[in-house]
Amino acid sequence: MLKPLSSDKWNYEMAAHLLNRAGFGGTPDQIGRLADMSHDAAIASLIDYESIPDPTLNPDWAHPNPDEVRQLREAIKAAATPEEKRQIQQASDKLEQQRMLELRGWWMQRMARGPRPFQEKMVLFWHGHFATSVEKVRNPYYMWRQNELFRRLATSNWEFLLRETGQDPAMLIWLDQAQSRKQHPNENFAREVMELFALGEGHYTEHDVTEGARALTGWSLDPQTQQFIYRPFIHDNGQKTFLGVTGNLNGDDVIAIIVRQPQAARFITAKLWNYFSGQVPDDALNDALAAELRAHDNQFKPFLRTLFRCEEFYGGDIVRNQVKSPVQWLIGSVRMLESDLPPTLISWGMLRQLGQDLFAPPNVKGWDGGITWITTNTLLARYNDAQSLVQGTLPPLHAADLARKQGGANGQRLERAMKRMRMGGVNVEKILTPDERQDNAILISSLQHRLFQGSLSLNQQEAIQQFLDSKTKMSDADITEAIRLMMSTPDYQVT
């Protein structure tokens, strides 16, 4: 188990697999450069990202804003009429929406253009794992801050990460821990930290939930500093028994006791394996993975190095057998096609429509993923969004839909504004040489290599060939439509 892939098997195809999974894929040149390195060096170039400078600037509002929150509250209180109150609230909601849009664009750009794709892939993992939604948190600063926490601790230690996330302001709000007190312990976080974050159902009892909630009382949020605060006077100092341990336990104890369970390693290694490989590990493999994590003192970095080295990760049931998440689909397309991410409003609209609204997962369980990404609806949406992505046109209907939701004159203005937006699109000259454009068979072969790092079926190649052959004078738009058709296949939805 977990033997390193033998060096004679390390080739272009495997390098593409590594880049697709540990990152968001890349161009033939980028894959070629990885393939030219040793396997270990290729892995290191992705996961040892600390030495790679990342010059991304933070949004200018990304700092504590207690005064802003307080002023809003006071302004609402002081409002003379209900109408005035409504207007103040509306202005505040609008600002929140603008910032969330900016935040989504900021993160998508980091994924699409940033120098540390693996780090962003881990941030996406933790966001899906500790799935927290702005719909309840309602504070862009807190959402940004949690996102940065996942970035900072992307490959750190399990216990540390679990505690830091539990004390993260967005999480304190999301699972109501900030409202829990001795007299009325709130069980939400106590339950989910075991069920969804660290152990899984069947590895704790209802009694552990109740007792854990008592122990966690005192973990709170200070609105003055917008930081975690421990409040001893709302902590339940009585004796509790949690997962077999008895004492005057507190929140730190709860986290430590959870991570001490053998199941805590098994739970997270199974989930990481599933995220990167697309499969559920069988018990033997997951035992080995969990042992590896524990052997490294619950540090994720060395564990992930083993994961990307091991031959199991390059198995026939793994390679090109993972359904692309919407984010993988969008970011991967932009990276492979060397194009710009569409304007945030459009990119965000696509992800929403495809079922992965960043910063707004459907619930605390996160996105189910896998084949559940694919429905008749989302599949057709992917095919249609591919068109606007490669041709740089407005997505035909959902943009109008967004505008409609705004309603009235505002909506019409938005629609006009979106029609003027520069959408990026694929620059054909950038990805194809003049020679490749001379011969349709070579053209198809080059595009397949770029989009699939492999081939479509002969039947499918013939369909593209016939489409191109039917054009008497081939324009760039015909070539981009051929790319779009290649993306409008079941094959393009897997990686």
């Binding site: 559940t372 694919i374 609806n377 439509e481 079941p490």
Partner: protein
């Protein structure tokens, strides 16, 4: 064997036409559409005797988040009720009484009028043994009709499709939304979903595009099926997905059998087949009632048009979210229930105007009710049993079953006890409404709850 036949038929839909030749990309798209639709209809009548213009239809309405049943159907004369809910207990001016003990929530005027007209049944105190208070697990239990200590791979409606709808039409189940509910998960996945009929199509850019698209998405392009038929949503026979180490991974999440691409290829076929049909109907059929403005109302409006257009669908699935009222319950539940009652009422009016009311049964469910005692934040926490609603003109109207006791000594861990297992309700719907044996679908025999 059944699965193989189904697949074969699906393939035939797409490839064979009355022209007697393969449906290749050289056939103009509009012709191809017409012929596959004709073919589909012919095959429906041959293989799905229960599907079509005259059969019964089930509309499942999910109230997601765990609706507080106690403030929905209110035991307003109970002292225990007001003691447990000093702040949240509804006052005389916040309820619509139906008798001396029981009242509807005040914003359920829509339901009350259906109730008075004999079109609404309230099944009181529905739940299941060993209730689970996790949203996800309890939803899964309702969706799969499993015992609370067992994880089932397939949904109860998916098993209904597998058992009773062996025809090839993927539109036997329609979900309004972008994701299929777990209830639809099936050995042979069926069911389509979409938000908006206008978007529900491949949009070609220029000539030749659509023809190429069809050829690119043919069944031939996927890898060969494993022996014994397709298994794209199957999990391995060793049961490695049924609990244990990965208990929280949902049944539908992993790809553990077959190739992902086989599943996607089949979905692509279903999408092509259903897209023309749905858009055609949505363009042709108008609503004949006035609905509120809400996502739920929009979903029901769409369902009404699809029913009016004669879709072969037997199960529609719509949902309404927001019931997880840990805080500020009064205002949010008021808004949600008003939407629920008014939207449902409008849908019933629409069905009556269409002449389809006698074919339709609406069933609501929520993953759990909420605690009897209010919490400190103006809300309620996750509980257990709650009422279900059934709506139609052939249902048993009125208060069905009995209201569970709120007396502290009768509670279990702070929750009311269920009187009716939801699987008895499912059995009643399967046996008496969808006219199919329920035991093979529910795993064992449940007495059908008499609702029809």
């Amino acid at each position: 064997m059944k699965n193989e036949i189904t697949l074969q038929t699906r393939r035939e839909f797409l490839r064979t036409t009355v022209l007697g030749s393969a449906l290749s990309w050289t056939v103009p798209a509009f012709l191809a559409d017409t012929f596959s639709a004709l073919q589909a209809r012919a095959a429906d009548s041959a293989t799905q005797i229960n599907t079509g213009k005259d059969s019964t239809i089930l509309v499942v309405l999910q109230m997601a988040g765990g609706n507080d049943g106690i403030n929905t159907i209110v035991p307003y004369s109970s002292d225990d009720y007001h003691r447990a809910r000093p702040n949240l207990g509804l006052k005389q001016n916040q309820i619509i009484p139906v008798n001396d003990d029981i009242a509807f929530h005040g914003s359920l005027a829509g339901f009350k009028s259906l109730y008075d007209g004999g079109h609404l049944g309230v099944i009181q105190g529905v739940g299941y043994p060993n209730p689970n208070r996790s949203h996800f697990r309890s939803t899964e239990i309702w969706q799969t009709a499993s015992d609370s200590d067992r994880v089932e791979k397939y949904g109860w409606l998916g098993r209904y499709f597998d058992n009773a709808c062996s025809g090839a039409d993927p539109t036997v189940g329609v979900t309004i939304g972008s994701q299929l509910p777990e209830a639809f998960f099936a050995r042979m996945p069926k069911g389509i979903c979409f938000n908006n009929p206008q978007d529900y199509r491949f949009m070609p850019a220029g000539p030749g595009s659509e023809e190429s698209f069809r050829k690119l998405n043919e069944l031939e392009n996927s890898s060969p099926l494993p022996d014994g038929g397709p298994a794209m949503m199957d999990t391995p026979s060793d049961g490695s997905n049924s609990g244990g180490s990965i208990g929280a991974l949902p049944a539908g999440m992993p790809m553990t059998g077959g190739r992902a691409i086989d599943f996607i290829t089949r979905t692509a076929l279903d999408a092509q087949m259903s897209s023309d049909q749905v858009r055609g109907i949505a363009a042709r059929v108008q609503n004949q009632a006035v609905y509120p403005f809400s996502p739920l109302a929009n979903s029901l409006k769409l369902v009404a048009r699809l029913i009016g257009g004669g879709m072969a669908t037997r199960v529609y699935y719509v949902s309404q979210g927001g019931y997880d009222t840990h805080t500020n319950q009064i205002s949010s539940q008021q808004r949600l229930l008003k939407d629920l009652g008014d939207s449902t009422k409008a849908f019933v009016d629409d069905m009556r105007a269409q002449g389809n009311l006698s074919r339709v049964l609406i069933m609501t469910f929520s993953e759990f009710g909420r605690r009897v005692s209010e919490n400190a934040n103006g809300g309620t926490d996750h509980g257990a049993a709650a009422p279900m609603f059934v709506v139609g003109d052939r249902i048993k109207a009125g208060l069905l079953g009995r209201y569970p006791s709120l007396a502290p000594s009768d509670l279990f861990e702070g929750d009311i006890r269920y009187n009716v297992d939801f699987r008895n309700v499912y059995a009643g719907i399967l046996e008496n409404w969808l006219k199919t044996p329920s035991a093979p679908i529910l795993g064992r025999s449940f007495d059908p709850f008499q609702i029809v």
